[in-house]
């Protein structure tokens, strides 16, 4: 899911604590932002920390002056062969920057039917990934390569990786019990950072600190929980909601790291990059935030509610929009299936929660 989806969901979770809302409205506390902060934190840990410390067995840095698709494919095959021998191998593919706004692109695909690694050198592109005309390689021997490996590929995401701008992707190859070679996309992503154990650990540490440092607030008789518990609970539930949301996609999480070693598959209800599923979570969170802010408003006996009719609120602002979203989601899914059928290919949804999708944000200043 998009960072914003996790962020607002984390805030929504925090608004379920009445005392936190009162702290915000009466004591100018920013405690509700804590939910958002920890809602987005797992991805922050991955893309701003974990990715730098993952060491790959093979690093491929193509030379833009001596372009050769076969050399790249052979490098990847080297990592696959290591996995055949030892059970595990990994490869980091690097990009080729030619100038401040010019890159050489190349594409990678794993052909499951023929057990081949397919590499195609693409055109030069700008940072917006728009190709420059006439920059394609003319020599087909250098531009395209297929290298066969001695194993059968297993991949959940049948996608072409376009390596063009910023940092390139990383793949891990892992031998499965059935002898197939599993291709793990971004092996450092959704591991320890996306585990309940990390959430609990941080919550425990923060709980210890807040137990000694956070005094009881005014009107404690109004609340069932002591104030110090709010901080660890908001952190815990904020990070948990991130993991739960991510589990609805195709790429799962490593739920109980270090007790569980592998990233599980997701439930596959939706793709992390799709607009409607993301917006469904965002809208749900927004409605919950408004509902909670209203029902937990300070002094309800003298402050009129913002939501005058619960039924109208939930019907017009939640049931109707969700029904519309569901209609368009199912319609889109059906159209994709039909298109795939017409083209005679299997309709495999792509989970784009990878660096290309995350980093190609709509922030214009990176262009």
């Amino acid at each position: 899911m998009k960072g914003f989806t996790h962020f607002i969901s984390g805030i929504a979770v925090a608004t379920f604590f009445q005392q936190a809302i009162h702290m915000a409205s009466q004591e100018s506390s920013f405690i509700l932002c804590l939910g958002g902060l920890f809602g987005i934190l797992p991805d922050t840990l991955d893309f701003k920390l974990a990715k730098y410390f993952y060491k790959s067995d093979v690093e491929i840095k193509p030379d833009p002056n001596k372009l050769d698709a076969r050399e790249i494919a052979n490098g990847i095959a080297q990592a696959v062969n290591k996995a055949i021998e030892t059970g595990k191998g990994s490869v980091q593919l690097h990009t080729m920057q030619l100038a401040s706004n010019r890159w050489r692109s190349y594409q990678l695909r794993f052909d499951t039917k023929t057990s081949e690694i397919c590499v195609d050198i693409g055109p030069e592109v700008d940072t917006g990934q728009i190709p420059f005309d006439g920059t394609e390689l003319t020599d087909p021997e250098k531009a395209h390569a297929r290298v066969k490996v001695n194993c059968e590929f297993y991949q959940q995401f049948d996608k072409v990786s376009n390596i063009a701008i910023m940092t390139g992707p990383c793949f891990e190859f892992e031998k499965r019990a059935d002898g197939k070679m599993e291709i793990v996309f971004l092996p450092w992503h959704r591991q320890w950072s996306h585990s309940f154990t990390l959430g609990m650990l941080i919550a425990f540490i923060v709980g210890l600190i807040s137990y000694f440092c956070v005094p009881e607030g005014p009107n404690p008789e109004l609340y069932t929980l002591p104030r110090w518990t709010l901080y660890p609970l908001i952190i815990l539930f904020g990070s948990m909601v991130h993991i739960i949301e991510d589990s609805t996609g195709f790429m799962g999480n490593n739920l109980f790291y270090p007790f569980t070693k592998k990233r599980t598959n997701g439930l596959g209800f939706m793709s992390a990059s799709e607009g409607i599923p993301n917006f469904f979570f965002v809208w749900t969170a927004t409605i919950l935030i408004l509902f909670n802010l209203d029902r937990f408003r300070w002094a309800p006996e003298i402050t009129p509610p913002g939501i005058t009719s619960q039924f109208s609120f939930w019907f017009w602002f939640y049931v109707v929009p969700v029904a519309i979203m569901l209609y368009f989601f199912l319609k889109g899914k059906k159209e994709k299936e039909l298109k795939a059928k017409e083209e005679g290919r299997e309709n495999k949804t792509v989970d784009f929660d990878g660096p290309q999708a995350v980093e190609s944000e709509t922030d214009a200043s990176i262009i």
Binding site: F4, F7, G36, I40, F53, G275, L293, E361, I366
Partner: protein
């Protein structure tokens, strides 16, 4: 409905259309003043107009303002695309649009933005009657929480910036430092902008008589000057601009673009200090936008809803919500607002949007002629020759000093590939902390109080 048509078509109101057209034409001229923030320019213009207050009815002044704000929000895209943005809301759009200009597709980009603006205005008009019912409730719910909502916007805009750099060193720490170098600069830039905001808001160097323009040098320095300087030192040329006869789009693009843009624009219009750039970024992430055309069109909707929507909020009967500079300027002139004025507003808004959209194409072609006949660097130099004396005239030497400092900060994103959005710390940070009640503590700490 009959009553509504009676109101809108009554001859008594025809003069309002006249004033609205005057506003649109004025906005076209104002739009040509390069790189100045809309509210500052309109502020100066209104000072001139208010001299006629005794002879102008309040509704005529409102019609003039509607013409100006709608016209500006649609037409301003053109000079911003070719000459440089005037504020953060525009700079958010301008960089991708500059990419279109470099490919000779600037005209198409502007028209796509215009279509986005037009569809946004139509949706705004459709939603306008509903606003009367649900916005008072939304205001009641969110009013005590605005400070942390702005705080959440700050947290998100900082946390959503991803590391840049190639990470190609064999040493992990070198890669880590490379990635965090850009993040660190972005964060420091946000803090430095926030500090500048605190200084400008508490002890500005702008003379008291120009106090209403105290933010002008900040915005010109942060957003306009760096853009113009970059243009001047840029050795590139603007390629020939293709004037497309049709625009490639479909209903999916229109619906998604308008929807995402409307969300972002409405959020920016409703929440104080949040601009269309910030709102657009958040809405883009919320709706998982990826397509370049979608972004450009969505942005057209977003900025129009932000500018026009914030003004419209002021007219919603019983809401008493003053958002945006124009509503603040108009506020003293308008005494009572009824449902009749509200619907007259909607009618004039639609009229102004239609006229402005029709003006968009010749306006764009005119701008293209200018940039194609006069070297781009000279256009930017002329723009600077207009902007710098204008800032001096409005704010004196104090304002010039603030502009110089702000220009230094504004150049940091250009030099270090940080997000321009971090510059919005100039308003977000001080306003958020002031709203939360911590402003004085910070000012005391900084020795400003």
């Amino acid at each position: 409905m009959d009553q509504l048509l009676d109101i809108l078509l009554h001859p008594e109101y025809l003069n309002l259309f006249y004033f609205c057209i005057i506003g649109i034409l004025a906005s076209a001229i104002i739009s040509f003043l390069p790189a100045l923030h809309i509210y500052n320019v309109i502020g100066i213009f209104m000072l001139f107009v208010l001299k006629f207050e005794a002879t102008m009815a309040p509704m005529e002044l409102i019609a003039l303002s509607i013409g100006m704000i709608v016209g500006y929000s649609i037409l301003n895209t053109v000079p911003a695309t070719y000459f440089g943005p005037g504020d953060e809301s525009m700079s958010y759009y301008v960089l991708p649009s500059a990419d279109w200009v470099n490919k000779g597709r600037g005209y198409e980009g502007v028209i796509l933005t215009g279509i986005g603006a037009l569809t946004g205005i139509i949706v705004l008009a459709i939603c306008a009657p509903l606003f009367i019912y649900f916005l008072p409730g939304l205001k009641a719910i969110t009013a005590p929480h605005m400070f942390w909502i702005i705080g959440a916007v700050i947290v998100y805009s900082i946390m959503s910036e991803w590391p840049k750099g190639l990470s190609q060193s064999p040493d992990c720490w070198t890669n880590f430092k490379e990635g965090w170098y850009y993040l660190g600069i972005g964060f420091l830039l946000f803090l430095a902008s926030g500090l500048l905001g605190f200084i400008v808001m508490s002890k500005t160097l702008v003379p008291v008589q120009f106090a209403f323009q105290s933010i002008t040098p900040v915005f010109v320095g942060l957003f306009a000057m760096p853009w113009l300087i970059t243009n001047v030192i840029n050795i590139g040329k603007v390629p020939h601009q293709h004037e497309a006869e049709s625009v490639e789009m479909d209903w999916n693009l229109v619906v998604r673009g308008t929807f995402g843009g409307f969300l972002g624009g409405f959020f920016a219009a409703f929440v104080p200090i949040v601009t269309a750039g910030v709102g657009g970024l958040m809405a883009g992430h919320a709706t998982a936008q990826r397509d370049g055309r979608l972004f450009v069109m969505s942005y057209g909707t977003c900025k129009t809803i932000y500018y026009v929507g914030s003004f419209l909020l002021f007219f919603i009967p019983g809401l008493s919500l003053t958002r945006g500079g124009l509503a603040c300027i108009i506020n003293p002139v308008v005494s009572v607002l009824t449902i009749k004025e509200y619907f007259v507003f909607i009618g004039l808004m639609l009229f102004a949007a239609g006229i402005s959209f029709l003006l968009l194409m010749p306006f764009t072609k005119l701008c293209i002629r200018i940039v194609e006949t006069i070297p781009f660097q000279w256009v930017s130099i002329v723009a600077m020759i207009i902007v710098i004396p204008a800032v001096y005239a409005c704010t004196g030497w104090g304002g010039m000093f603030i502009m110089a400092v702000a220009t230094g900060l504004g150049l940091i994103p250009v030099l270090f590939q940080a997000r321009r959005m971090n510059l919005m710390g100039v308003l977000l940070l001080p306003v958020c902390l002031n709203m939360a009640g911590y402003g004085n503590v910070i000012l005391k700490f900084l020795g400003l109080l």
